[in-house]
């Protein structure tokens, strides 16, 4: 189906089902239960899951396939966001032109940066991309304030022209982003007993874009072009002596992943029409690196998992505080309880960065293939227990 092989089709279908039913899957706990705080099925976070999923999928096309580690990819996301917000300010609140412009602008931006940076490889390439991104951030935060809004970020105002729309609504408010009148923030709720599920237009819009991106990524992975990119990672020397020019291949991969980032940026602006300069900072680029590695670089599903994992951590795990912990360990004797809470305390709540750092190190050390490899190891271990006599060969390349 869709020109994909059976295995990939089922992967795509699984992802499609997961995203479509995410409002149910992410809200497994009744709203009145103590575990309700682990529910992640609210619009903003669900949107973030898929938008950062797109970002990571795109990053993975560059890093996972060609092995070029860009430390400046957030710049493209930022540029995309700015482009989209400008579209909202000047043209109108429809998200499609905004997203389109975001993709185009970040594509152009990545052509320029990629053309220069890709003249070097290895850590030199990483430093070049880092330098470009830091320059973009520094300028966006300061001298480019008229274009980027500087510290406060680029935001909509009541007196924006919006030539194809209205400057303000009848009630005197700024109009909200919409898809041909369907507002991104519109939400319907479904209540089943104590459970509550939220369906948000913005989420489903983003999710459809994510599925399209995912599909495109599968096609790229399975295409001769994708194979060439993996060949670049494997042996550039052989590429050159096989009559292949690596430069346009890497540049194409760079621009494609830049456009993915632009799409993510445009979607972010569509969900929430404000673009801040911080989303271009090198730490933001570091975040997408974390996502990709954590999930499994070079695998199809890994980056999406990694993005979801980190965003869940950032938004849910970070909210666990001592009171919650005391609740969990209340069954222990008092002294024990305090001790356990004391031990866990640095790792939870605002210490989530610490946990993330440790986890990330663990993954790089023990699971270079990320969560995907972890999953494969577990499943092969389970299978291994079922048929113990089967000798275990080399782990298959992660798909």
């Amino acid at each position: 189906m869709f020109g994909l092989e059976k295995k990939d089709t089922s992967l795509l279908l699984i992802v499609a089902v997961l995203t479509m039913f995410a409002p149910f899957i992410l809200n497994p706990f009744p709203t009145d239960s103590a575990l309700a705080q682990f529910n992640a099925g609210y619009p903003d976070l669900m949107q973030r899951f898929v938008i950062f999923g797109i970002f990571a999928i795109g990053f993975n096309i560059l890093f996972g396939l060609t092995g070029y580690l860009s430390f400046g990819h957030a710049a493209f996301l930022g540029v995309g966001s700015y482009a989209a917000v400008w579209m909202f300010k000047l043209i109108g609140m429809n998200v499609l032109p905004a997203i389109l412009l975001a993709i185009i602008v970040s594509g152009l931006f990545s052509v320029i940066i990629g053309y220069v940076s890709l003249r070097r490889s290895g850590i030199y390439f990483s430093i070049l991309t880092l330098a470009f991104a830091q320059m973009s951030f520094a300028l966006a935060y300061s001298v480019l304030t008229p274009i980027t809004g500087g510290e406060t970020g680029l935001q909509l105002a009541l007196d924006d022209p919006r030539i194809l729309g209205v400057s303000q609504t009848a009630e005197g408010n700024i109009p909200v982003p919409s898809l041909f009148g369907l507002e991104m923030r519109s939400t319907a709720e479904l209540v089943v007993g104590p459970w509550e599920f939220v369906f948000n237009v913005g989420y489903y819009t983003s999710a459809l874009f994510m599925l399209a991106s995912f599909y495109l990524a599968i096609r790229i992975f399975r295409s001769p072009f994708g194979m060439m990119l993996r060949a670049v990672k494997s042996n550039q020397q052989r590429m050159n002596y096989t009559g292949l020019n690596t430069r346009p291949y890497t540049l194409a991969a760079f621009v494609i992943s830049g456009m993915y980032a632009g799409l993510a940026g445009g979607l972010m602006a569509s969900m929430d029409p404000l673009a801040g300069a911080e989303r271009m900072q090198w730490t933001a680029s570091g975040e997408v690196v974390l996502m990709t590695i954590l999930g499994g670089a070079g695998t199809l599903i890994g980056p999406v998992l990694g993005a979801g994992f980190i965003k869940y951590f950032e938004n849910i795990f970070s909210k666990i505080n001592d009171n919650v912990l005391h609740g969990w360990f209340a069954f222990l004797p008092d002294g024990m309880e305090d001790f356990v809470v004391f031990i866990i305390h640095p790792f939870i709540g605002k210490g989530w960065h610490l946990t993330l750092g440790i986890l990330f190190m663990m993954v790089v050390i023990f699971l270079p293939g990320g969560l995907v490899e972890g999953g494969q190891r577990i499943s092969s271990w389970v299978r291994g227990r079922k048929s113990e006599d089967k000798a275990k060969g080399k782990t298959e390349p992660a798909e």
Binding site: G150, T152, T187
Partner: protein, 445 residues
Amino acid sequence: MTKSDVTRRGVLKSGAMVGAGVALPTIFTASSAAAYTNEPTGSSVTLGFNVPQTGPYADEGADELRAYELAVEHLNGGGDGGMMNTFSSKALKGNGILGKKVEFVTGDTQTKSDAARASAKSMIEKDGAVMITGGSSSGVAVAVQALCQEAGVIFMAGLTHSNDTTGKDKRANGFRHFFNSYMSGAALAPILAKNYGNDRKAYHLTADYNWGYTTEEAVRTSTEAMGWETVAAVKTPLTATDFSSYIAPVLQSGADVLVLNHYGGNMVNSLTNAVQFGLRDKLVNNKNFEIVVPLYSRLMAKGAGANVKGIYGSTNWHWSLQDEGSKAFVKSFGTKYGFPPSQAAHTCYVQALLYADACERAGTFNPCGVAEALEGFEFDGMGNGKTLYRADDHQCFKDVLVVRGKENPTSEFDLLEIVEVTPVSQVTYDASIFGGDLGTCNNGA
């Protein structure tokens, strides 16, 4: 899904299953069932405290959170009541707000506008917060304020000093208790003129972002009006850590005053560097060289250590104020936490109380009702004397403190001394000078 029911959250929480089968699906229409966003229908109301818990302002955020927790305790009738006893409005009874118990959720702004909006959205969408408050920078305040406007909840700004928050970027749903750059300039200038004379030459170092620009502008205008000359104004990168190359040329320029339009880590570093260069021991134009820090914060002063001694600046509030409101607040905060509150803590505490009071007086949590109750509201007993929440731009007008780094601090909290309480009349300005448009109140309906 036989027992399912498609409806709005508001209905769910009040009538539980009453509406089952009656309410027709109103899918994909923004809230028609509820009167306004996150209308509290149970026995409690949820407030969202959005403060920096990670990142460079985490300590300030922690102090804000302490203040909020204290405010919630007082609102629910716990503790000694703090400033509720000195507050001129007596609408609050210590039984929560409008009889509903106050609960709160917290979010981490990370002092990034994106992250701050994400955490605010999560509190609105997931936890049903009906009001968002807090924050430790203007970028965040403006970003979150705009979000609250869209979402239809009230935003009570925390520490934000840029003119933009209630100027160019003001919003009908947003309210600021904290003072701003303009007021700092207006309050500082006369004191500077009095202490340092009218013919000074000032050199500005300005953090290269919105807040820096407005602060420089404010201090420049007001000091120049006093007869000072501005020799130069140099922008410094936000990410700078070593300011030596900006500070070294100051003496060459013939300036005899250095104004550091910096906050947070920038301020700590630039001030430390300036003192290292021995600027304050120098004699220029036969005058002692002086340094001015327009916006002081005690937590930041702590970072700069002994370098703040004798340096003038302005602040929103300080724990050594001797009015009844301040004393009551310092007492309950100090008793609970063991040290005096910062100005960020004070402003956050006051904002929480003001919001609660406005709800009581309006008789509703509806943001438009609350906004109306806050607009033009005059009150006293909250630590800054008589205060007005101006209707035109949702900015509080109150006395501004001019402070100086203390020469002989008795403790690690006792770093600043109050030089003058500038009366509100001197710092009031016309609401139109910063442009912007409040728009109309949005309740999300």
